[in-house]
Symmetry: C2
Subunit: 225 residues, 2 copies
DNA sequence: ATCTTAAAGCAACAGATGTCGCACTAGTGG
DNA sequence: CCACTAGTGCGACATCTGTTGCTTTAAGAT
């Protein structure tokens, strides 16, 4: 996850994901060499550090540039604004190897997942929370956020597949809906409602979703009977 | 809901909800008279109008002041910042007489509620969405938002009470958890995940919650058998 | 009517934020 | 080794955002 400065990553991503100024076919890849990649790594590291220290509120282009040892103008030119920075961070966040833990039961898996979510959301300052805040302000960050959600929920579908394999769930189950039903109350209460975190909430939400699933709430074609 | 300019409202609210500069007991109420109230009404109307036209992104103190026909400084002094403005708007929003519609069944009531929610969230620009965005940036707006959520969910508890009265649910049912389970997927998908609105989502989320409730997912003390 | 004073208007200022042209540095290719 | 140039550094500038001291207006009381 953490980029090692000085060891340029080989990903030749167009930095901010913005449309490039039309490479004229003679320049297939602009200049993926040392300095460019190094600056990108420094800046993204700085963003994560600033986010961890001051949260989204305290995240400013000025501060990021200073911490990265880079000039303001460079950041503005490559990432445009704070939203662009976070979009890049979000894309990088999707490149880890996270996967849901296997506890042996659907309810256990969902509870473990919810525990992880709750933990990441109650931390102060919370990076995921900051990224959600950013998604409200920047279209680019919102798109990156969407990609990350999609990736995460796709990985979580293995939870449902395992449950189907164990016979806990019917084969044709809408995995995505089940996962959302299980996790949504957490985000709703912790992020939107702003209620105090309840240590039993993760388990309760997971249990509710499990019960609904057992009652056939997420059956796909519902063969009626 | 809409304030009629020129007809000062009698609510002697301390405007922004901020701690007042200690009234010296000789001045029990500062100056609730015409101009003060009129300015407040003008400004709040301007906020709602700007929000409807440009969304949260385009909401600026400068624009609000101009539209309200008031000087910038006045807005800064009474509301401090955009968050303060929205907090005041949020508090005013809680003073309506909204109540959940009665369709005759738990599932129907929850579906109707979700339909209303979805409708308010897919509108562009969406005022509720703007208020949520504001809650991320301003502590004052966040508190006001919290008060509004609390008020809304409290009113919705009548849905559960009616269902209990009809014998659809056991007497000891955790109304709040049921309501959150029913509504959270909507907010999660439309606000956080940013997925395209699905016209059947409200009904499906309501059905899921109803099934879970029937399975005893929201029983309060659970007398064990 | 007139006095008092809370609140609004006004203008000048300070700081943050973002932009632009130009110079320079350092990969890249000959 | 040298030439080329994408990308960065630098400083000057424009703008937006928020603050402060003072003046003016008008609500409320005598």
């Amino acid at each position: 996850m953490t980029h090692t400065p000085g060891q340029p990553d080989s990903r030749a991503v167009p930095a901010g994901g913005r449309p490039e100024p039309v490479p004229c076919a003679t320049t297939p890849e602009r200049r993926p060499g040392g300095r460019t990649a190094r600056v990108r790594a420094q800046v993204l590291d700085a963003v994560r550090a600033e986010l961890g220290e001051h949260g989204y509120e305290g995240l400013t282009v000025e501060g990021v540039a200073a911490r990265a040892g880079v000039h303001r103008t460079t950041v503005y030119r490559r990432w445009e604004d704070v939203g662009g920075l976070l979009a890049d961070v979000l894309d990088a966040a999707g490149e880890d190897d996270w996967e849901p833990t296997d506890t042996g039961s659907l309810r256990g898996d969902l509870t473990a997942l919810n525990d992880e979510i709750q933990e990441s959301l109650v931390a102060r300052p919370s990076v995921p929370r900051a990224l959600m805040a950013a998604a409200f302000r920047s279209a680019r960050a919102a798109e990156a956020q969407q990609r990350l959600w999609e990736d995460r929920y796709a990985r979580c579908e293995t939870i449902v597949e395992r449950a189907v394999g164990r016979g806990e769930l019917p084969a044709r189950t809408d995995a995505r809906s089940l996962l959302i039903a299980s996790t949504a109350p957490l985000y709703h209460q912790l992020v939107l409602l702003g209620t105090a975190p309840d240590p039993r909430l993760p388990a309760r939400a997971a249990t509710t979703a499990t019960l609904a699933a057992a009652a056939g709430a997420f059956g796909l074609p519902v063969p009626e009977e």
